[in-house]
Subunit: 339 residues, 2 copies
Amino acid sequence: MSQPEFEIIARYFNQASLGFSKAGVDLGIGDDCALLTAPPGQQITISMDLLNQSVHFPVDADPALLAIRALSVNLSDLAAMGSVPLCFTLGLSLNNPDSAWLQAFSSGLTKIATRYNCPLVGGDLCKGPLSIAIQVQGTVPEGEALTRAGARIGDAIYVTGTLGDGAIALASLGIESESMQKISLCATGQTEQCRQYFKAAFYAPVPRLEIAQQARHLINSAIDISDGLLGDLGHIIECSGVGAEVHTYQLPYSDAAQCCTTEQERQHAALTGGDDYELCLTIAPENCASFERLAELADTRVTRIGAITDSPGILCLDQHSKNLIMQDQSYSHFKAKGA
Amino acid sequence: MSQPEFEIIARYFNQASLGFSKAGVDLGIGDDCALLTAPPGQQITISMDLLNQSVHFPVDADPALLAIRALSVNLSDLAAMGSVPLCFTLGLSLNNPDSAWLQAFSSGLTKIATRYNCPLVGGDLCKGPLSIAIQVQGTVPEGEALTRAGARIGDAIYVTGTLGDGAIALASLGIESESMQKISLCATGQTEQCRQYFKAAFYAPVPRLEIAQQARHLINSAIDISDGLLGDLGHIIECSGVGAEVHTYQLPYSDAAQCCTTEQERQHAALTGGDDYELCLTIAPENCASFERLAELADTRVTRIGAITDSPGILCLDQHSKNLIMQDQSYSHFKAKGA
């Protein structure tokens, strides 16, 4: 089946349910550009993420879930800045688009766009191997954006949710990746319930927008964990000119991760796997109690896992304050095999 | 050769020459989002275009030229809104990146980014078949953006530059496309000079930013011609609820097009080919003289090719006012073969 580009856009993307109107979006799909207005005193935040078939997801991935993941991981970048979603654009490459696939993909996008009040305002549609480029636009009060550069010595380090699920999910779902080679699920461990949990963790990571927005005034620095805690915390300490110690025994794991993996495997997944899309935040000690209260109100699990220090690098300490040496500090698509 | 993602970004993209600082860009490459501020009284314009290997350009395309084209065609969308470039983001998929390729690609981007004062502020880098997603951000005074919806009955229709070169270039460069099947270059016609002209037309289309910005107050509607004049003018008449007549004998052609093609071929290329990235503009008769003066000052060729009418559809009239019937009104990546 082959449908012209304009017809596909009209039928599956330029719909009231997906390209809905919203204050700040003055012109959406249908012209050479979309037109946006930032509210007075607000900055615009923008972030683009790509998802490529066979690299980020399997060829036969459910299109609705794929759309949910693609938009959610982009929204996670807005969360990491303490930003509020404004709208998104979509650059979609696909071969021989099929009505059922397009309908499901569009419905997945609509679900997340609606949930986070983030309409589709434009983009491009091309022939090519399946690839999804999404750019999200958000707003944040001037000077209040969270960055990687604000961590201060003595800050507590928090993470939202649980860690390692992203990398373990790759193994659970049988998706090939470099990190997967390091995680072998316990032969006996994986129940259907675990499999469902990891599928949801992979395809529908929850962008932590609410806690980041509500606790913005309490947070000194933030990043979303897409490359593994060590790699992403590494960006914070590098940008902030500080060091960090991580208490590995405090890392939060899901029940499913605890059920399916050895402690070493899930710790490795948390520290060096990718795709968790949780936030890593640093908070001054005097603000920790307020932050934890806000997290409770936002129904968001947060865990204090370490502290910002003045010694360069990241120390990973176990219960006995023994430093664990980690290799492969983060996930890289281009890392040489065996490097 | 295989380089880690962060190293590639640092070495080839996060450079002062490409990610240069600029008023309105508060934070560029290196955090979860870039941070922008629109000047007071300005709206933000955004547009995303994809370029995929084997669809939009040949596998062995010169990376510097490819980068120039990728950014230029996006800037053309800003021109069509009468907008001023602010910055761009890049989503680059590529397999086994090679230093020479990356260096050349980066230098091409830098050339256009510098020329139009449009720095790189973020994006994503992934493994995958070569694909370039670029989103441009621009600014435009509130309420002054040119759209497709402003054409009025009686407006003169203008185009910038020459038409048909984009589609003829595909044939000249031997790039496979649906439109190429319809254009066979005269066997005797193509000189090396013509080949060089078409190569430049394809890889370095000039975004018509200057004339669009300077004559913004005179222009009622605008679109960039990426799908062929009939298709793109078709969007204007549809969005504006009007009709149009095009005087085919007034269509402007390059010397190279006149040298290498029959009149029928170049007319077909102009009306239904793609990739010209010139502007189609409609202007009230009383403003035409002022517009032509501004175009002369901006050293931009403009040609009056028809008028907006109250009859639905587009009439293509030859010197004898005979209506030409056109098929395949525009280029579509997904058009069924033989449809």
